[in-house]
Symmetry: C2
Subunit: 345 residues, 2 copies
């Protein structure tokens, strides 16, 4: 551990310019994930910065070359403003490089800067997503595709290569809580990731029900209806240390995003409420995170927890420790407890 | 060397399915390039298979995470059927990950399968390239872009991020020998890679002249007018070993491509001619390659030699040895000889 962190500091942080920092961090974090053997179901606990969503496959490929076990997930690919052929090709490439560890987490996009950049109209927000998801699923199912839609050139018996190693390449639907998105995921039999970055998680419970009900009505096998909860979290040996490392950069990012959307700045009181037992933030000790995940499991019966740790510019060493605690303490204890409950149920 | 190759065999080749082979090879080769300290100017001696051109940045990112010195070049990005915003974003990401080792080698595309896949008309073959190159260079020059063209949504003061670490991110023009492309590269002051995969290299000499003349007329500084020769090559300790490893897979690929274009299959006699002193193939011993590069230098005065070794399914161990010979024997001797000539000139 310490050796790696030392090498990492010398190699990446002191010598490079600040622009390269986030990528140094990204690669370094993945490297340490291997050391601590973070279990695959917890997936990638990171996202790129706001502006990097369309380059995720590139960053993940660097992680693939340094890791062997963790899954590499996009969280999220803004499919609406991207091209399903390119997205499939990139993640199939990533899947081959990582020998079957890639997955696409597709969403309509909470950040919408990419729409005008690629010439899309926000009035088509939902139609763009529905149409592109349809094409992505068709490409995923078979290499030779014939397809026609409103927002992309048609395909006539054209081959899309390379093909992913996993059959099928996992495609999750990430939703911020729109009933329409959730019901669509259920009806299509796709796993659903609910992003909860504010408010009380328990209030999102009806969405999980809606998802499962939509799946049942469409005749989807129950074991295909997976639910994931994506949120913000940060672990340290003491709650104080977690708060100290996480709060300031997090508050800066959330306040900046809020400003763009006309919200007031994030207050410390709001943050503390989010950290509380009913709040959405998992910032604290491993025991606190374990209690929160287990409490959420009683509400959602969910299958996966994804914790985004780098929300802003948290210190490198603290992120590495947070990941280590997630992989070595939180994940095994949550699994053991859930297995126990299943036996006694 | 042997240790790495052994580990590589165990890790990658025996356990994985054949679909993952080319990527295993790709990553493995980059890893060994570090071991042998292949000098940066020789760049990436590899290309992905025919179908992978648009996913190159993803594959190169995996290489970036395993290497420290070699340059990572696309050779080639078919810019005509791609989107300059995405291409820039992907290679800027790669540049950050590799801390300034990325470059784009852009071409109009010899393989044209990607045109209908993304809804482009081959009648616009050259206009597509010219327009997209214009946008790419504008994005490269400044983050906030205003641009309008025929083949892509316009941009109105929109930011393109992330930004590359290198300023500017290198953009080479790769040409199969069309005078128009070569003159354009010169006039724009962009480095030129001439791809010679058949015929006598000396016949391409007028192109280098045309390029330099176009640059001179446009007022480009002579030191910016770099010429690279991209070709097929394969090195081994004996000429027989090089031929044995290279010929059969190469002939299969070239005959297949030829079939699609209405050419006769590649014969052994043609291959032997290509290997001869005036031919384009550098398949043989390091000494033979050194002699050929130096002879070509008298004709072109070029600045870079890029040798594609994997043309088809050459054996892994032979590719690794070929790269090692390129990095440890051929490159230093060529450099030393050219330095000597410069002093005596």
């Amino acid at each position: 551990m310490r050796d790696f962190a030392t090498i990492f500091e010398v190699e990446f942080l002191r010598r490079i310019r600040s622009r390269a920092y986030i990528f140094g961090t990204l690669i370094g974090v993945f490297a340490i994930v291997v050391v601590t053997a973070l279990p695959s179901v917890l997936g990638n606990a990171l996202r790129s910065s706001d502006n990097l969503t369309c380059k995720l496959a590139v960053a993940l490929a660097a992680a693939a070359a340094r890791t062997k076990r963790i899954r590499l997930t996009s969280a999220v690919t803004v499919l609406s403003s991207d091209d399903p052929v390119r997205v499939y090709q990139q993640f199939a490439t990533l899947d081959l490089i990582s020998r079957g560890r890639a997955e696409i987490m597709a969403g309509r996009g909470s950040f919408i800067e990419s729409f005008p950049l690629f010439g899309y109209d926000l009035n088509d927000y939902d139609e763009l997503f529905a149409e592109k998801l349809d094409l992505l699923l068709q490409i995923r199912a078979e290499p030779v595709v014939t397809w026609k839609g409103r927002h992309r050139a048609p395909l006539k018996s054209q081959g899309v290569y390379p093909r992913a190693l996993q059959q099928p390449l996992p495609v999750w639907i990430a939703s911020g809580g729109t009933p329409q998105s959730v019901a669509r995921a259920g009806a299509l039999g796709l796993p659903l990731a609910i992003a909860i970055i504010g408010g009380e998680p328990a209030r999102f419970a009806p969405l999980a029900e809606l998802y499962r009900e939509a799946g049942r009505r469409a005749g989807v096998a129950p074991e295909k209806l997976l639910v994931g909860i994506n949120g913000h979290g940060f672990l340290a040996d003491t709650a104080e240390a977690a708060v100290d490392a996480f709060f300031a950069p997090y508050a800066e990012v959330m306040s900046r995003i809020g400003r763009e959307r006309g919200w007031p700045p994030l207050s410390r009181a709001q943050f503390d409420q989010g950290r509380g037992p009913r709040g959405h933030l998992m910032v604290g000790t491993p025991d606190e995170a374990i209690a929160k995940i287990l409490a959420q499991h009683e509400v959602f019966g969910h299958d996966r927890t994804l914790m985004q740790m780098a929300v802003g510019d948290q210190p490198q060493a603290a992120i590495l420790r947070s990941i280590e605690l997630l992989g070595t303490v939180v994940a095994p204890k949550v699994r053991a407890e859930l297995a126990k409950r299943e036996v006694s149920a």
